[in-house]
Symmetry: C2
Subunit: 220 residues, 2 copies
DNA sequence: GATTGTGAAAGCGTTCACAGCC
DNA sequence: GGCTGTGAACGCTTTCACAATC
């Protein structure tokens, strides 16, 4: 249920705005999805709506948080203190949303010791100690692509059971370890694909408008 | 075809490693997907494989790049020079992968003028000028959630036709504008959900092992 | 013999439509 | 009357399986 976090976000906003009750239709509108889908998703949590009335916002927020395991903070550890790792650690968004950075590690000795976003960079050999002392369950990989699998192996060996991978590499891990991948370049490439199609469409329209022009090339 | 960028990445790695020919089975292995899916995806580009042999890596890379519109760089403009915007601009990954940062803008005058990742922050009023002079087609939103819709409106008004949204808000745009959303907190919350389930599973196992213990609570 | 390209089958998530309930 | 909860229909994606091709 990858949409629950989205509902949670928008319900929190509505709650802050003073809305105490909401219908599936309204949620659907805000989340830009179908109302039936919202009801199916929410019914998965239990029957927390009232027919003829809707859902109580505060109660729904609580139930979604419970389902997602957001009743307490989850410390994360970042592997890789390069550009991306520094950016992620310095960006305060993790901590604000309940995922404080419990540590940053790197293999390079010259990076060890520096302070990023209030957290000191440690050597990757300390990973197990950090994970166990801070009870870290989630690791973030922010290494260059070729080092990502090593980072994953180190995280798993240290006892981490969930991994968020920002490296442009597909990593493997033992069964039972959850992995998610976010590749910024992939996102941009997908947008590029759409741009490309738009450009092609413009071109073939132009060619149609001037039938005498050569119709070969990148059209279709 | 959101998998083409993934194939492209791994094919490029194979090419750099000296592999000149590859089968759908091998690609599937590297991409952690089914081989039939790889063939279906690639057949969508045209019949570029050779039966009994496989695919020529270099040619396939070229075809995927052509399909994705990666035959030239796409300049991007970042809206929001806060933590996240600075992080994204400073992280060199965009430029390296063919998406150089053509500009960063913000509404706050005190941010305007500072230098981030070699690019000077400009006022959001300059957005249209930046977009048109640099021929920017893709905008990146790195504002706080409440400002995201305004940022999107400004991007669309300036002539941008694709948006990558990092703000934790669902934005709307006119038909024909492509939008993708990346929410780091959502990714972590999905992992939290898996951790939560693991924790529950452990607890119910423990309860089963000691049948006398109270079976109520967060199990199931 | 090996591997692609692709119809057909299976699976999965979405949407419809309405009974059930407030 | 209004809105939820959900079985059934739908459509899209994935997977299978094999004929076509090198």
């Amino acid at each position: 249920m990858a949409r629950l976090p989205v509902y949670l976000q928008l319900l929190s906003e509505q709650f802050d705005a003073g809305v105490s009750n909401i219908s599936s239709e309204e949620i659907a509108e805000l989340a830009a999805v179908n109302a039936a889908k919202v009801r199916k998703d929410l019914s998965y949590l239990g029957s927390y709506g009232t027919r003829g009335v809707g859902y109580e916002v505060e109660f729904l927020i609580f139930q979604i948080k419970r389902e997602l395991g957001l009743t307490h903070d989850w410390h994360v550890v970042i592997v890789g203190a390069g550009n991306l790792g520094q950016a992620l650690a310095g960006y305060g968004g993790f901590g604000e949303r309940g995922f404080p950075v419990g540590g940053i590690v790197d293999v390079a000795d010259d990076k060890v010791g520096s302070l990023i976003g209030g957290v000191r960079v440690r050597h990757i050999d300390d990973l197990q100690h950090i994970v166990q002392s801070q009870n870290v369950a989630i690791g973030v990989i922010a290494t260059p692509g070729p080092a990502a699998q090593d980072a994953a192996d180190a995280l798993v060996a240290a006892g981490v059971t969930s991994i968020l991978n920002f490296a442009p590499t597909i990593i493997s891990a033992p069964h039972g370890i959850s992995i998610r991948k976010v590749d910024l370049a992939v996102e941009l490439q997908i947008l590029s694909y759409h741009e490309q199609r738009r450009a092609n469409a413009r071109q073939s329209t132009a060619l149609k408008a001037v039938p005498g022009a050569s119709g070969r090339g990148a059209s279709a």
